[in-house]
Each structure stands twice: as C-alpha cells, then as structure tokens.
Symmetry: C2
Subunit: 199 residues, 2 copies
C-alpha cells in the first residue's frame, strides 16, 4: 500500500491545489478532519458551496456582496464625493478596518501587468470612468500596491482621470510605523524624504 485509500487521496489532492498548502499540510488537514465529527466536515463542505452560490460582485464598486449592491454602496452615510480605488476586495477591507475613510470604493479586480498579460481592458476601469463621468465624485484616492504594477496602474488611471478635472491623490508613501528605521529599504526612505511633512 503506497497511498491512502482513494477518497483520502482525492481530498489531499484538492487541498494541495490551494495556495500555501503543500502535500504534507494537505495530509495533515485530511487526517485532522477524519479525527473530527462528520458535522465539522459537513460545515466546511457547505460553506464552500455557499461562498460560490451566494457571493457576487457589487454592481457599482465590485466589492464582494450578497445583494445587488454592497453594504458600503448602500450606506447613505458614506461620502459619495470620494472614491478610493483598490486592486482587490481584501485591500478594501484592510482600509475599512482603519476607520479613517468614509467615502466609497472601486475595486479594479487586479492591476495592469504587462508581464502577466493583464491590460486595462481586463479590469473594471471602464466602469470606474462611467462612475466618475456621472459628475458626483470630486476626489479619487488611488490605494494601489506600492510596487511596479500598482504604480503603473496609478499612473495610467491618473492620466485617464485628468481630463475630467477630478482631484486624484494616492496614499502617502514613507516609513512604516513601528519598524526600525534601520531596516527600511532605500526606495522607501528616499520617498519618505521627498514627502517629508511639517511638524
């Protein structure tokens, strides 16, 4: 016997497909589930199906939602004159957790990445432009990864938004809080010097 029985191997294979789960971890997960009540496995199994059947993109901002429009777009207390553009819904969630931002969002669904063959037409950029052209938005905050693809996408968007006369900003770049300055990389440090603020 070189392998586990087929149903075990099948589940190990499925777990193994997931990011950051290798064969060894997949085996451990399966053996753990075997040691638990059948109910635990049923819960996980059902939760997987629910995610795919119940979750869809918000028709306005492409955030994850169960309804037509997401919680944020539906919330009348949010400031409709500001739109924060992010690559993925999890970045939106991260920003929400700061309680710093009260405007709306727009999820691009990725970043322009010529290396990976992702062009503007693969992202929700047309939908963003239509939102902006509607005339209510006064500021667009670009909250994109401070890396090559993010900066490229930010430049592309800034150029596209400019003719509309809408103020376009991006997140401040500088040294992260709570880290040793000694370990900050040179690019971050030089941006921090360029963007220094008055005290």
């Amino acid at each position: 016997m070189e392998k586990f029985p087929e149903p075990l191997e099948a589940l190990i294979k499925e777990f193994n497909k997931l990011p950051s789960i290798g064969r060894k971890t997949a085996e451990r997960l399966v053996l753990y589930l075997l040691s638990q009540d059948a109910q635990e496995t049923q819960l996980l199994s059902q939760a997987l199906l629910d995610v795919k059947s119940k979750i869809r993109p918000c028709k306005i901002c492409f955030n994850y939602t169960e309804a037509e429009e997401c919680e944020i777009c539906k919330d009348v207390r949010r400031d409709g004159s500001t739109v924060c553009v992010v690559g993925q819904p999890q970045e939106l969630l991260k920003l929400e957790k700061t309680n710093e931002y009260q405007g709306l969002y727009h999820v691009l669904g990725g970043l322009i990445s010529p290396v990976n063959g992702i062009g503007p037409e693969h992202l929700h950029i047309d939908e963003l432009m239509r939102r902006l052209e509607a005339g209510k938005v006064r500021e667009v905050i670009l909250a994109l990864d401070p890396k090559v693809d993010g900066e490229f996408t930010a430049m592309y968007l800034a150029r596209k938004i400019k003719p509309l006369g809408i103020k376009t900003t991006q997140l401040a770049q500088g040294v992260p809080i709570g880290r040793d300055l000694e370990f900050a990389d040179e690019v971050t440090l030089s941006r921090a010097v360029q963007g220094r603020t008055n005290l």
Copy 2:
C-alpha cells in the same frame, strides 16, 4: 464594513478551525477559491463529504479503508506471522513507503498518555491482544514515536505481550541518516552508542 459578507466569513471561520491555518491564511484560501471556477470549489466540497462517508477503519488492523478490511490485511502475499504496531495510519503509510516491511500492521489510534488522559482502554489494545492470542503471530514490531508517550506505550505493550511468548522488538534507535552528527542530541547519541552494530 468591518467584515466580509457572511458566507465569506463563514468559510473563513471553517478554514480557520483547521490545524496550522490562521485567520490570514484562511482569508487567502477563500479569496483564492472565489477567483477560481465554481467547479474547483465543488470538487473540494464533494471530496470532503466523500472522505467522511466512504472511509472507515479496517476491522482487523484499524488502518483507513473503503472496504471492511484494508488493502494490506486482504493481501495474501503479506507475511501474517509479523505484526507492526503503530500509533496512527499515517505512520503505517510512511513505513510502507520504505518497501522494507512485508508483514501486517496494527494501528493503536494513539499512544498511552497519562498527561492527556489517554489510557490503554482508549486505544485498540484489546483488539491487538485478541489478534496475538489467535496464535499465528510470531513477532510484534513496536514502531511507536521515540518520545515519552511512545516509549511508555511500548513498555506497556511489551509487558502485556510477554506472557504469550511472542517475540517483541522495536525499531532501531540511533543517528538519523544524512544529518550532521554534530547536531544529533545527546539522548540519541547515547542510544546509538549502546546499540552500536558490527561492521
């Protein structure tokens, strides 16, 4: 919006229950699955249900199996006069991969562990004794973790088997192959000296 929509949170929670999967990893897995075809998620969901409905313990040795008896117990070419005792099915699989052992197995389902409240009555020890009392077995190999619980369980079993007059052995203890001797711990080294073999 402080959280993902409910179906996403539910799946994150379920993943988060699994060993070695923290909240962050659980989020990453869920967002990955959202980005994949619905079919992928269905495969995983179904594989989970199959494992619980199709897998059971072999009625002879308690290895995982889909049938009444496992592949190994059913295999007439295996040597029925030797039984190798392991704690868990995955250890059996590890031994099988060596192609060194041609006998049968017995899975205890754990190790005696007074600290964790696991006594002999919680393990498949009675079933092992009945197999041995049937009279066909001539050697029992104890392949248990070379740690406190494993050594305690081995001693317990050796004492219990002794009256039956069956030869009881355990895996050789010594320095692991392919590692620097310098890094071997003292207990392992002293066992290796005690158990030194002729060349």
